[in-house]
Symmetry: C2
Subunit: 252 residues, 2 copies
């Protein structure tokens, strides 16, 4: 499929390649899904990082939550896109970029199309946790062919809890039956098989998000010990856009 | 504020006016919110209906979930908007609409800007259940001034369950502490005060979504009896885009 073709193309020309995951995964609460648990991530870090990696000459597989921020559209996604344009001078029913957005949007537009045409950027979408895990696994298997030129940059906010399919109510939960009690199971850790079996030679960067600063460092070190990969970047919800801690094997 | 100004303007010129709600509300699971419960609604019905109301000469307050479909952008929101355009012939860093989208997007663009400039369309955003309830209440209070020219069209998918603020954990729930048990309370019904006190003379249309066909009709009739409003439109998740049941006071 298109992921395989993209990776194979970049492998043939010896391009460094990074799989970036971004945005949050959902877990359904009902098997004919009306409701689900989500998290606040909109993909700021993943989409911004993707632009940096592209600037550094990497090919990027951008595995992101449907509708979350993507490289080069991230500055404009919060707006109704119809607001970015105005009627053009020819008045032929076509549009032009509003003057206040011209510089940034024109540049983003050009870079986006350049990277897509050069096959250095591939956007792939997920929504649910199971979509995400499936796509992460198959992409990692393809990437393993690239050996040391492959990087994994796991910025997605992956659900920690889910309701197993057998425990799910089939129909919409009725509010007339009183308060709702939910029991969620812990999602099996997928990073262990990824770093030890599927992609053992890649450079792997994972992220930890906490709200309690007293837990952060210890959780970063624990992740590095457990998964034996290269870098954990830890951040606290409130100041995550200004400050991170970077924990590497050498710093242990 | 802008909602008041918009409604007052349309009231002065005796414009019929409808408040359309659209998209899903979220309920946080943690007070420093990382996780929340959401529902699948992306606002197809609300945004499509808004275009019909605008076509019929109504002024529309479109109260929608941030990022969900809006009138005139709804056919394009699922795409990265950078994909809708190509470089223009002048090659001056500006863009033009790709030929395959030219007809529909050009028309939507023109209609959107016409309605915004004519003050017949106002987009207002919510995310959480409490944002939604607050905005619905204040907008309805303004609308009550319009007497019988006001309509309420409640297409949003509002959460049925929430976690009261006092019951919420402050910090991110830790997956190391084992399976997660959540207890959610039923959201108080807001339609009763709306139809009986806040907006007693407006024409009110509400919606019911179920997954079990055997419950639908009875739940529609029950809603009409309870809230004593004008119309309930019932639909089943699987075929909601092709078929609805319409229950009115006369049909009781």
């Amino acid at each position: 499929d298109k992921i395989f073709t993209f990776i194979r193309h970049n492998q043939m020309i010896n391009q460094k390649i990074v799989l970036i995951t971004s945005g949050g995964t959902t877990v359904p609460l009902e098997s004919r899904t009306v409701r689900y648990i989500d998290n606040f991530s909109i993909g700021t870090r993943g989409s911004t990082s993707a632009e940096y990696f592209l600037g550094l000459g990497y090919a990027v597989v951008f595995l992101h939550r449907r509708g979350s921020l993507q490289p080069y559209n991230r500055n404009f996604q919060h707006k109704n896109f119809l607001e970015l344009f105005t009627t053009n001078d020819a008045d032929d029913g076509d549009v032009k970029i509003k003057s206040e957005f011209k510089g940034l949007l024109g540049m983003c537009f050009a870079k986006y199309h350049l990277h897509v045409e050069n096959k250095t950027l591939l956007n792939v979408e997920f929504t649910t946790l199971s979509d995400y895990l499936y796509l992460l696994k198959v992409t990692s298997e393809f990437l393993n062919e690239c050996m040391e030129s492959a990087m994994l940059y796991l910025a997605a906010a992956v659900s920690d809890f889910y309701i197993p399919f057998v425990d799910m109510p089939q129909h919409k939960i009725q509010s007339s039956s009183g308060p709702l009690h939910l029991s969620l199971q812990i999602v099996p850790k997928f990073l262990k098989p990824l770093t030890s079996k599927i992609l053992p030679r890649a450079f792997v960067v994972s992220f930890k998000l906490e709200t309690d600063p007293s837990l952060l460092l210890q959780k970063c070190h624990k992740a590095l010990d457990t998964y034996n990969h290269q870098v954990v970047i830890g951040n606290i919800l409130e100041n995550r856009k200004r400050e991170v801690v970077v924990v590497t094997k050498d710093s242990e």
